[in-house]
Each structure stands twice: as structure tokens, then as C-alpha cells.
Amino acid sequence: MKKEKTYNQGSLPNKGRREIPRRDFFKLLGGGIIVFFLPKCANDARPLSAVPERDLTKDYNAFLQIGEDGTISCFTGKIEMGQGIVTSLVQMMADDLNVPMERIKMVMGDTDLCPWDGGTWGSMTTRHFGPSMRLAAAEARGVLLELASEKLKVPVSQLTVDDGIITDTNDPKNSVTYSQLTKGKKIEKYLDVKPSVEDYTKFTYVGKSFLRQDARLKVTGEAKFTGDIKLPGMVFARILRPPSHGAKLTSVDFSGAEKIEGTKVVRDGDLVAVLHENRDKADEALIKIKAEYLFDEMAVNDKTVFDWMLKADSAANVESSSGDLESGLKLCDKIIETEFNDPYLAHAPIETHTAMAELVGDKMTVWAATQTPYPLQDDLARELNFPLEKVRVIVPFVGGAFGGKSAYQQGIEAAKLAKLSGKPVMVAWTRDEEFFYDNFHPAGVIKVKSGIDKSGMIKLWDYSAYYCGTRGAEILYDVPNTRITDYSGKENAPAVHPFDTGPWRAPNNNTNTFAREVQIDIMAAGARIDPVEFRLKNLKNEKLIACLKAAADKFGYVPGKSPTGRGIGIALGIDVGTWVAQIAEVKVDKKTGHVQVVRVVCIQDMGLCVNPEGATLQMEGCITMGLGYALTEELIFEGGNIISRGFDSYEIPRFSWLPKIETDILQRMDEPPQGGGEPAIITVGAAVGNAIFDATGARLYRMPMTPARVLEALKKV
């Protein structure tokens, strides 16, 4: 069965496809000053094998333009999916160019206008893209100052910039605006300098809170998402889907569908679709298709998958080790061995995968809800057999993604159908399709064997992760004898996951942080030491210590030996360079097993925080979304058949779940910015699990911690 798609560089068409010839930029965008830049680490940043990376060595994958009218535009392949970079990026640029934020326009995710970008994931936009963009802005400012110096006939050192006006400090009347300087100019600059940490104290915008720039569009319904695009002559497609993953279409009869007036049925191999200008009629026609399948499914389901993984013929890769496990074992007074299980999860964005495709002449344009417009463009060129410059991908507003829209099957489907039918085609997946074709968060098993000496110091840590990766599996604590092993599928061996898996907000870190922080809690309880004290005792990392102390302080934490009956749980973690400490308080109904999280305190150290308001919003979002994987979210499946296919069977957080959320960011103005869209979600599972233990003495090793599992665990107390 097909699992992960892997393309290597060699399979990509490789000539003249990468960039629009540079001179064309001015033709496309008008004159002014253009500064090209390459975000740092862009080459190292490989999210997943499904995203083919283009050769970046001589390319600049973003640029900013000061237009002839003084408008400042930043062109980037990054996209806005709710994380708020339309605000934070503008803040950064406004500071370096000394202009008000309203003057800056972000042009994003359009493959004709913007240079190549690998995709928007991994909380990398602010971390990696931001600093490079700021350097480019500084470079542009330098060019403007030189032009002003010539024009005003004073040295650069005698000039100041404010609100896009450059003024002679000795003669305030001697001034010139950016637009006066750029008029009729065509200046290109290529930036090769790597960004370094700078003096952040001079900023006007960075480090201060700003509301979302896109809010007005979003509250009025004016914000255009992919499904909102309307083209003359467009049709809606509904695609025939197999009943389960691994089922092969053997015969199809679409005579019934064709009887519905205005229906066109198109077929390209296994892709069978009905097209109709009326969405309801397309739905009607689809159910009239009769199809037969051959089934070849894996004999595994959501209950047996963990044993299935442990029994699989795996490749073991020791990712890190220190000291010696044998001698560590001898130092221990208590040894604790635990197995943790985490299920498959769906991304479940409220906007389903949607794409609109239109073929005009020999050029295919695809509007798509995707995190990765350029990889989609690559795949479209390959699938349609079009030259790359004949494929344009445009990403409108994206209605949530969380990693799930790094996959873009719907874009390929829409383009194929547009090519077959000659009409603009809208493919908007139904909720059922969204659940069925999701690239799920992988289920996984973690085994930990750890030990403490008589004084409560951790002396041993042997950690094995099966089929869920090791992001976030760092030990964090100061342990002398350690090993972290990653178990994954052997090369060319049959896949172990029965369907596609992919990144899910803070990919795999939720699984690993749950395992580590619950294990730490078990040891603290075993040592009869307060869980905050136990952590502080075993930590050397100053950032984490600061976060934990701040969290305990904000919570008003009173030490106690768990289980205290109070229902307070602690968890620490790191993701995308950001440190997190979280304390959750829960109420457990011992009769029903229902868990209500009543309060969550979260402290985050993310280096320089560009927009505290936006980052806080992300932290709150992470905590709220995290309650889902902690308490209810679990994909039910049998073989290749996904049984959870709607919000009735796959329950995501609701308003009644909302705890009191209190957050703080430890602002580090003198440090580089780190990721913000994911970190606060990683600790939710463990903080809640540890709080359940503190409330009841019941220990849960498997997420989600449903009422049935809580009741089961209560029986063992």
C-alpha cells in the first residue's frame, strides 16, 4: 500500500523552472528597489519527505520591494492560516524601514509573484524568515539613505528616517519621501549576509502587542477562502471515493449519475468524478454511481495497533546516549518501567481541503487551501505534464491547517478535472472526505525505563519511541545515564501505519512530552517528593527552571506530595526553540470518569516575542486545542476503514470545556525569536494526566483520557 510519497531531487524536472528570470520582476511589479533575500536555515529545514526541496544554493527565496509609489511589499511563499504572521512580519518590517504598519503589504503564497518557499510549518516563519526579512529591510533602508544623501546633498550620517520620510538633521526642511526616491528607479540588491542578533531595544513595533491585521475582513465575511472563489462557467466536483484505504476500484457504472440533468461524469483511471454547476446536484449524482472494489486492507484496528507496532520488524536507531545504562541501574533505588500509547489524530480544520482549478490556454491556475504552494506546483507540473511556468498556485486565506494542509491531494484532483472537462472546477472535500484522507498524527508507543536513587535524583533514563518519531523526546533533566532509541519502519519494508500520517501541531512532541512528563511524575510520587520540587531538583536548564518557577508563582502553587486530592498537574517541555511550563487543575467525577479542566497556567520563553498579543493568542489556542488530544480525540478505524468521519464521532474541544487560561511570556528582547504556534500544546496531555493522578491517585498511560479509561484506572487505585 502506498504510504509516504517520497520524491528525490533527481525526479524533478530541473531546467529553467526555479525562478522567473530576474529582469521580469520589474516587468511584473513595476520599478523601485527590490531586495532579494534567503532566510537562514532554509536548506536545513526539511519538514517531511513528502515535500520535495528545490535547490536553493543560488536562489533568493523572498524579496521586498519599495515600489515607485513608496508602497512597501514583501513577497513570500509563506501563507496565513490563522497563526498571525500577517501581523508579526509587518511589525518587523515597519521597524526596520521606519514606516507605519499600514504602509506595508504582504503578498503571500502566489507562485507567480513570490519566489520559492518550502512551506509554512514548524513555527519557522518568525524564527527563520523574520530575521532575514529584517536584514533585507535594513538593506533597503540603506539604499534609500544613499539615494537621499545624493538628492539632499548631505552625508548619510546626517540623515534621520521617520514615517518613510528622510530628513536632514541640520535642516528639517531639507527632506525627501521614500516614493520620491524610488520614482523611476530600478535597483536590485541581493542579500548574502546572515542575520545576527541585534539591538532590539530600539524597536517601535517589535515586542509590542498588535491586534490581527486581517480581523476586519474576517468578521465581515469579506475574507476570501479558496471555496469562496467564483469563476464564470465553474462546476463543482464530487469525487468517487473508495470505502476504505487499500480498496481497489474494479468496476464502475455511472449511467445513473448521467441521468441527472446537467451532470458530466469524467474519469481518469481511478479518478472518477461528477461535475455539476449546482453543488446539490453534484451530491445527488455522486450517490447514483455504482462501484465495486477489491479489498486489501491491513488486519489492524485502533485497539490492536499498539501491539502491531511493537511486533513489527523495526529498525532501531539510537538517537542519543550518555553514561552507561548498566551502571546507572546499579545506582537506582527505584526502577519504573512504563508503556505509553497515543492514538491516530485527525487535524480536523473547520475549512476542509479545498481547491479551484482553471485552465486558460496552456496555463493551469490552482487556488488551494494548502501550507505548501510550491510543492503543490511541482506535483501539478509532474501530474499534468506541464512545464512549471505553466502552473500557478495561489493560496487565499487558509481556514486552519495544523500540519494537515501540508498535503494537497485536492489541488491535484481539481487540476486534473479542470484539464479533463475544460471548465473551472471546484473541489471542496466534504467533512467525511476530510477525515478519510487526512494525513493523521501517527499513533505510537513509548517505553520508558527510568530510575531514581535514594535522594530522588534521576540516575537512569532509557527511552524508546515506536513509530511516532522523537521530536520533543529530549530528556531535559540532568540525568547521567541515558539512551533514546527511535524505532521506525525498515527501508523498503511494508508500511506499519495503515494510512498516511504527517505533521500535527507540534508533530509528535505531544506524544513524547506526555510520556516523559508522566514518567517524571511517577518518579516524583515514588520518591514522595512534591512534583515541582522533584523537577527543580533534577533540572539544570536555567530557562526551564525560570519557566517552572514563574508558572508555580503565577498559579500560587503550594507544595504537596501527589496524590494530594487537589487535582493539580505539572508538565514541562520544549518545542521549536521555545520552553514551556504548564500547570493544570482538574476536577474528576469519580462516578462517570468525566474530567473537567478548570484552570491552566502556562509560561513560555520564546526568545524575543515580536507580538505578545499574537503569541498569547497562539498559547491560548494551543491549550484549548490540546484539551482535545488529552481528553477525547482518537481516530477509530478498522483496517483501512476510517470509522470516525464526523464531529459526532470525533469530538473536538467545545466552549463548555474552556478552563480559566492564564499565560505569561518571559520576554527576552536580547535573544533571537523562537517558534510560537505550537509549543504550548505539547504539555497539555501530561499536565492533565498528572492532575488526574493528583486528584484521584489514578494513573493514565494512554491518551485520550476518556471517561471509560479514567474509570478503568480508578479501579486500580
Binding site: M81, G82, Q83, G84, L211, R212, D214, A215, R216, L217, K218, V219, T220, G221, E222, A223, K224, F225, G227, D228, K230, N278, R279, D280, A348, P349, I350, E351, T352, F397, V398, G399, G400, A401, F402, A428, T430, R431, E613, G614, L617, Q618, E620, G621, C622, I623, T624, M625, G646, F647, D648, I652, P653, R654, F655, S656, W657, L658, I661
Partner: protein
């Protein structure tokens, strides 16, 4: 069979010749271009398609257009009056009560309906009233705060 269906849409009397079994959501989006009303699940579970019918929040994804004969429909596009945002819209902006913004129109319509029935809800009543509208980004906290602010402002008659 097509028939003429009359209703009031965002304050305007509207007649449309249409098969009455067509889904209101698609009619609003595709016939009237009112794309602020979103498809989220098509089964009434998520609330992104919420509109007001005679001041009641209703899921348009499961409603045949024939059912709105003679009724008064308001969509997100109809909340703004003479360029002035509705207090709920304003409060959503002030509280940053959205991330991706896809569920936002449904949230705002549901909250508007809630406040029409209960002008000064408690936080608990807001949560209850918003319970069946889903947001995946986790903007819940801000939405509750925004609805509260809007209630305060509307009470002041501004």
C-alpha cells in the same frame, strides 16, 4: 420542480425561482454570492454555516431553501449597517477573537442570535449558547470575552 420563493434577505425583499429542496447554504453562497456563510461539515455539527432566520440562529447547511418562504434571513454580510460594524463584529476585532477566521462568521451570527434572546448573558450562559459552534484554532476564550463585551455595549444602546 422550480417555484418562486420569496423571503427577506439582509433587509431586502427577494424572490428566487428555484427548486425548493436546494440547500440554503449553497443557495446563499452560489446564487447570491454571500460566501461569508461557510461549509464546515454539511450535517449541522459545526455551526460555520449559521445564519439568522427570524432572529433565530439556524444551520443553513441542512435547511432546504423552500423552508424560508416569507422569513427574514440575515447573513454575516447583513450585520454591518451603513458601514458601521455590529457590536458583536466590533468586539470580535477588539478581543482578537479569531485565528484562521473560518468559523468566525458562524460564531458571530450565533452570538448575535444569542444576545437577541438573552441580552446580558453570564459567562456560563455564553458558553452554553455557543457550545455547538466549533472552532479548531482554540479562540474560545476570546470569543466568550467578545460576546460579553458586545452584550455590554448593546445594553448601552450604542
Amino acid at each position: 420542480m422550480e417555484e418562486t420563493i420569496s423571503f427577506q434577505l439582509n433587509g431586502k425583499k427577494t424572490d428566487v425561482l428555484i427548486d425548493p429542496t436546494q440547500t440554503l447554504l449553497w443557495v446563499l453562497r452560489n446564487q447570491f454570492g454571500l460566501t461569508g456563510t461557510k461549509y464546515g461539515c454539511g450535517m449541522g455539527f459545526c455551526g460555520s454555516c449559521t445564519i439568522l432566520i427570524d432572529n433565530e440562529p439556524v444551520r443553513s447547511c441542512t435547511l432546504p431553501v423552500g423552508d424560508v418562504k416569507g422569513k427574514k434571513i440575515v447573513t454575516i454580510e447583513g450585520l454591518e449597517v451603513n458601514g458601521r460594524l455590529h457590536p458583536v463584529q466590533k468586539a470580535f476585532i477588539e478581543h482578537d477573537a479569531m485565528q484562521c477566521g473560518y468559523c468566525t462568521p458562524g460564531m458571530i451570527m450565533n452570538a448575535t442570535g444569542l444576545l437577541l434572546k438573552n441580552p446580558l448573558p453570564t459567562a456560563e450562559e455564553i458558553k452554553q449558547g455557543m457550545e455547538d459552534n466549533l472552532c479548531r484554532c482554540g479562540a474560545h476564550k476570546r470569543i466568550v470575552e467578545a460576546v460579553h463585551t458586545a452584550a455590554e455595549e448593546m445594553k448601552g444602546g450604542k
